[in-house]
Symmetry: C2
Subunit: 320 residues, 2 copies
């Protein structure tokens, strides 16, 4: 410890909850300090098991996650919950959920809860969520739940970074059909049919099973399971946790590293694209040279394709 | 003329309709030959007046455009019609429309008709449409209609490149409200309320007028006009053409060059972004070095942000 006290990274690694909260805020605000922090803690990550939970609004995801969190806590493992709402620019709704949750886990310092809302940047929320999970991971969290509402591209990107993906469906809302159509179904490792006391639970299970029947699985490949729950009563929660553990055991024996590698690649591609476009925006498109080129296009003495090639030749070390 | 005959560019400039059709196909297929052609003809463009026409399906855009085309032809000016359907990956529907149109303008070699459908590339259709318009322009077409169905981002991008933008609405379908909500309303220079024999035409005109009343226009700035038509009967078509001519006169006296410059800038930015991402995809992300970096991220010996910086440093001449 220096005279100025431990750094934020050191405090995160020491599992100081206020430091973790502060670090996630830096990430959420897309600050340079946040990037610097991730660089410092990254080599201390990779231990946590990340569980992605998504599904349409009202599917009971929060209750399900809370129940699973309690189950995890029984083993002594530390839990992190990141609730993401891609559809809302404000975290008001999520904050309400937070307050209810804080009551459920109020006396348990082994549960860290955080909500994140969209900042409107393309893909920004998925990146911020992944970084938030890295921070919890570095702080010694054993199991991280990432809970997100909806079935769109943002959710796919968010769930893609999880070690296991749970898609929660609920009978008789019509949302099930919408979810079945969306790409999110293809990334589900476990389907949770929640609120099985409602009409249509069997029909929904049959529909999901029929969809799964459309493809085949190779030896050693995980075939998605369907688990029925009534989260409010705790019904099916032990079975769901057993399915998660079964997935984890099989993954760690086989495809786990492949999946993490795919995740690293996805992340790197995303960062590269973002940095490149930012470079273009701040360094190239704001230059006076660009205005001269646009004038030449306007007067038809230069065509747009040649102008683009000219700029890229100046910008890139090697050009196609 | 060489022993091999005139080049495609020369034939386009000589207004050979088969060469024009072939050139547009090269553009549509996103070939290098298409790019090369645009480079050759670009300095011969900039004469045509481009009219963008959009609106919800069923608003009667095709009929309207056909009527306007007949009006333009009365002055002897050559007409091009590019019908774009961003929602369809196939041009079947547009082709049917083409056939009907070809009957309307069958005996008139002064009308060139072409339909274009999406290739699924992000923004690709807008680029292809703009290039198709350049080809018609180079071939001596005086007035080019670009007709597109819908009110989404694709349509905004397509209409953005026009010299004047017509948004067609139709009473009593509910689509009007959807259109009013969408960004397309902000780029309309002229609102066409078509099918005025239907109920609700007055209400729709009042709604559009109310929306226009929400902002103010500076001296010399064009205030969007509302024109009522019943295109199938030709009602309102002379008034609509008069509005287009009034817009053109005012634009040419003032903001015309500004608008064309904004278009050149939009185009150049779009090309740069596309070329940069293609360079990333084909040159950088396929390199063996990238795999080594991903492995290092997977083993946590390198964080994704540092990996991204490392790649960009190799790729860019100057790095932030």
């Amino acid at each position: 410890m220096t005279a100025t006290g431990p750094s934020l990274a050191e405090r995160v690694l020491a599992a100081d909850p206020r430091a973790v909260a502060r670090a996630i805020s830096l990430i959420e605000d897309e600050t340079e300090a946040g990037v610097s922090l991730i660089r410092q803690i990254f080599r201390h990550t990779g231990r946590a098991f990340v569980i992605g939970v998504t599904g349409p609004p009202g599917a009971g995801k929060s209750t399900l996650v809370d129940r699973l969190a309690v189950t995890v806590r029984e083993s002594g493992d530390k839990v992190g919950i990141i609730a993401v709402d891609p559809s809302s620019p404000f975290s008001g709704g999520a904050l309400l959920g937070d307050r209810i949750r804080m009551q459920v886990h109020a006396r348990d310092p082994g549960v860290f809860i955080r909500s994140m809302a969209t900042r409107g940047h393309l893909g920004g929320l998925a990146r911020a969520t992944e970084d938030a999970a890295l921070i919890l991971d570095a702080a010694g969290t054993d199991v991280i739940f990432i809970e997100t509402v909806g079935v769109g591209q943002d959710e796919v990107d968010i769930v893609r970074m999880a070690d296991v993906s749970l898609v929660t469906l609920v009978p008789g809302t019509g949302d099930d059909v919408q979810a079945l159509k969306a790409g999110i179904m293809e990334i589900a490792d476990i389907f949770v049919i929640n609120k099985i006391d409602r009409d249509g639970a069997d029909r929904l299970a049959i529909a999901v099973e029929a969809m799964l029947g459309l493809r085949s699985w190779t030896e050693g490949e995980w075939r998605p399971r369907i688990v029925r729950t009534q989260a409010t009563e705790g019904v099916g929660v032990p079975e769901l946790w057993a399915a998660v553990r079964a997935f984890r055991a099989q993954a760690e024996a086989g495809s786990f590293e492949l999946r993490r590698r795919a995740r690293a690649e996805f992340r790197l591609r995303d960062l590269l694209t973002r940095h490149l476009l930012k470079h273009l925006e701040t360094r190239v498109l704001k230059s006076p040279e660009l205005n001269a080129l646009i004038d030449r296009i306007g007067s038809r003495s230069l065509d747009p394709y040649s102008a683009s090639s000219e700029i890229l030749a100046k910008m890139l070390k090697t050009v196609d």
